[in-house]
């Protein structure tokens, strides 16, 4: 079956050990996690995992059901790229000297909508947000001048749907709790 990059978004209670519980569901199926971002969500006490993984729809459906089955997981969803707005952030370290030698780096920074985060006498750090391929493109372009360090974050994503699914879930559950 065709493999697609899926974005899995998991909302959980903020309890220790959840990252392990979520990640073993992927590893048991020998699914390689492409990227993983974990942070507090906009709702207090709720943690959010954004995970990307290449697989097929049948498998991702099972994975997400298994994740949701964990007691402290509130909700888990999966999306294809056209259903979410997503970004990654990357940092590139280059010698300041190579910036001064020509204006090519500056042009690249402008072209890719990147920016200088820090410029010191010896090195400079460029920051870019975007999609993986653009970020990689910039890397290859900059590397002609020698990239000393390069780091790319995991994906963060928000859905295109107008209503926030988790808020609805939480308010429904609140109603049920009242009986």
């Amino acid at each position: 079956m065709e493999k697609t990059l899926y974005t899995v978004i998991v909302f959980s209670e903020n309890r220790p050990g959840l990252l392990n519980q979520v990640s073993i569901i992927f590893s048991r199926r020998q699914l390689n996690i492409e990227s993983l971002t974990v942070s507090a969500s906009s709702i207090e006490g709720v943690h959010k995992f954004t995970i990307t993984v290449y697989t097929d729809e049948e498998e991702i459906d099972k994975v997400v059901k298994q994740i949701e089955k964990r007691i402290d997981v509130l909700k888990a969803y999966y999306y294809t790229d056209d259903e979410v707005i997503y970004q990654e952030v990357a940092l590139y370290k280059v010698d300041t000297e190579s910036i001064l030698e020509s204006d090519e780096i500056e042009q690249l920074v402008r072209k890719y909508n990147a920016r200088f985060l820090e410029i010191t006498r010896t090195f400079s750090v460029i920051e870019m947000t975007g999609h993986t391929d653009e970020i990689k493109e910039l890397y290859y372009a900059l590397d002609k001048f020698g990239v000393k360090q390069y780091v790319r974050s995991g994906r963060i994503a928000i859905t295109k749907s107008t209503s926030e699914l988790l808020s609805k879930f939480l308010s429904d559950r609140e109603e049920e709790a009242k009986g």
Binding site: S12, E13, G17, N20, I24, I71, D72
Partner: protein, 564 residues
């Protein structure tokens, strides 16, 4: 210190009482001693069974839970005590058995220092539990215990592990207990969808050849009566998974037998002939389906389950009826038209006859001097009026127990299905007898399996538990030998066994017994065994190279049934 304060250990006892715990299976040790000290004051309110190995405690709790429907409770110490419960916890997880296991843990300040008898119990048990939680302070105990019982019991049941640090057992706290009735992140029973109920009923109503596959979900949902009503109203023949056995009486005319690798001939053949396959509380395990690519492809599939993660996991459902089986079955039945499928139902008969003539007849009434497993099981079942609880270990004894024991009431089959844990039988039988003291409990085990947990004879001695232990001694790891014969050119690599005198071993534990090797001796010994309620060990020297048949080889089409 205020007068009303109690220790964490006492809080644990009070929480157990609040949850209706009557029986605890356990084994003490350093990191759980404060809990045992508290138990000393509660011994008249809760019965503690001192097992001989922590694995035994878990299997006993499973046996207890299977026959009573209650949540099994286990206490063990940290480190080796905790790692010894792992096999049983994994077994309870895959077989959906509700259980709460409390393990001691080093004091919180020593965590992650490789302290004496420290193990990362939560880390180890997370993948094999519904929930696993470390309690680091006494104040958390009521909350965590209430949650543990709620999670273990509700929805699809399963094991919960509480890792209780020693300081939490000792610290003082103000006790206030509130049972858990709601966890916002956990929806144990999905709501019933009326549309789906109508769709399922419509499918069944227009079926010409409906076939019900029944799993443990019916027993766990206490839905035996609802199931029977549904099957009878629409005249649907039914077959059973290993864990679904006993949900309906063996001799009910719609009960067509067991599914799967060693199931009944007709049940497997008919799976690929029915037009609507109604799976109820079962999970299409590979031992039931064999090759998925050719499994029931002609049929519309209705899948009743409480666990949404089971839907489309192995077999795609045309209609998925989510919810508690008691409610979903009743809801669908309401919309069923009374129907008859006489011809379809009687089409099972010719297969039953072939199986009887080619396999069963000789197995239960052998023409040769050697005793056969099926014969023993069938005779023991008969001697108990088919009213006993059948507990098995794993291997040929298990499949034969499932095939030849007959059931007249529910919750009468206790076996390790999903994990196939050798050593399960003896402790599970102990737990079953404790849970159902007025019923006869018959354990069938191999000479291999009994030796995995044979130390539990000590538990029988100490607690005076009247289980009937039938050791089917073929001097082989029989099931593995069978596979070697069929699939490995009869190369019997390390499967023959030199065994102790089992009757003498039993005697050493004060258990009466006999060893028999002829059909007549067998009859007499069974009569003696069931003549009272005492423990008894019956060692039966059976034919060394018996085979469990029919058999569908692993990975073959489910219709590829071998009768020889």
């Amino acid at each position: 210190m205020s007068q009303s304060q109690i220790s964490g250990s006492q809080a644990l006892m009070r929480a157990f009482l609040a949850e209706g715990v009557e029986t605890i299976f356990g084994y003490p040790g350093g990191a759980i001693m404060p809990v045992y000290d508290a138990l000393y004051d509660f011994h008249d309110k809760m019965r503690h069974i001192l097992v001989r190995h922590e694995q035994g405690a878990v299997h006993a709790a499973q046996g207890y839970s299977r026959v009573t429907g209650k949540t099994g409770v286990v206490i063990a110490t940290s480190g080796p005590g905790a790692t010894n419960v792992i096999t049983g916890v994994a077994d309870a997880m895959i077989d959906s058995t509700p259980m709460v296991v409390v393990c001691g843990q080093v004091v919180a300040s020593l965590l992650a220092t490789d302290a004496f008898q420290e193990t990362d119990v939560v880390g180890i048990t997370q993948p094999i539990t519904k929930w696993s939680y470390q309690i680091r302070s006494a104040a958390e105990i009521p909350w965590a215990v209430a949650r543990a019982f709620y999670i273990a019991r509700e929805g699809r049941p399963g094991p919960v592990v509480l890792d209780l640090t020693k300081n939490a057992q000792i610290e003082l706290m103000n006790f206030h207990y509130e049972p858990c009735t709601f966890i916002r992140s956990f929806i144990p029973t999905p709501p019933i969808d009326e549309q789906v109920v109508s769709d399922a009923a419509a499918l069944i109503n227009q079926a010409k050849k409906p076939f019900a596959l029944v799993g443990q979900g019916v027993i766990l949902g206490n839905a035996e009566n609802e199931l029977l009503a549904m099957l009878e109203k629409a005249q649907i023949p039914a077959a059973w998974t290993l864990l679904g056995l006993s949900a309906m009486p063996t001799d009910h005319p719609l009960n067509k037998g067991m599914l799967g690798m060693h199931g009944n001939y007709g049940c497997n053949i008919k799976t690929n002939e029915c037009d609507v396959l109604i799976a109820i509380g079962m999970r299409f395990d590979d031992r039931v389906t064999s090759k998925l690519a050719t499994y029931a492809k002609q049929a519309k599939i209705i899948h009743f389950d409480i666990d949404i993660a089971e839907i489309n996991k192995n077999v795609k459902a045309d209609v998925a009826v989510l919810g508690n089986s008691k409610e979903t079955i009743a809801a669908v039945t309401k919309q069923l038209q009374p129907a008859r499928h006489d011809e379809w139902i009687s089409s099972f008969d010719s297969y039953a006859k072939i199986e009887y003539d080619e396999v069963i007849k000789e197995e239960i009434d052998p023409s040769t001097p050697d005793i056969k497993m099926g014969e023993v099981i069938s005779k023991v079942s008969e001697a108990t009026g088919h009213k006993a609880i059948c507990v098995t270990d794993v291997g040929q004894n298990q499949m034969m127990g499932a095939r030849y024991f007959r059931f007249s009431q529910t919750r009468s089959m206790v076996t390790s299905g999903g994990l196939g844990t050798m050593g399960f039988g003896l402790p599970a039988a102990i737990g079953a007898k404790i849970g159902a003291p007025h019923r006869t409990v018959c354990l069938f085990c191999g000479d291999g399996g009994i030796q995995m947990t044979i130390q539990e004879l000590g538990t029988i001695l100490q607690e005076n538990i009247g289980v009937k232990i039938i050791v089917l001694n073929n001097h082989f790891l029989g099931m593995v030998r069978q596979w070697q014969e069929m699939f490995f050119d009869e190369r019997y690599s390390f499967t023959n066994m030199k065994n102790p005198d089992f009757v003498a071993v039993a005697k050493a534990y004060g258990i009466n017994g006999k060893c028999v090797s002829t059909h007549e001796e067998l009859d007499h010994a069974i009569a003696e065994m069931v003549s009272n309620d005492d423990a008894y060990l019956l060692e039966v020297r059976i034919e060394p190279k018996g085979m469990v048949l029919p058999m569908v080889p692993a990975g073959a089409d489910i219709t590829d049934v071998r009768l020889k």
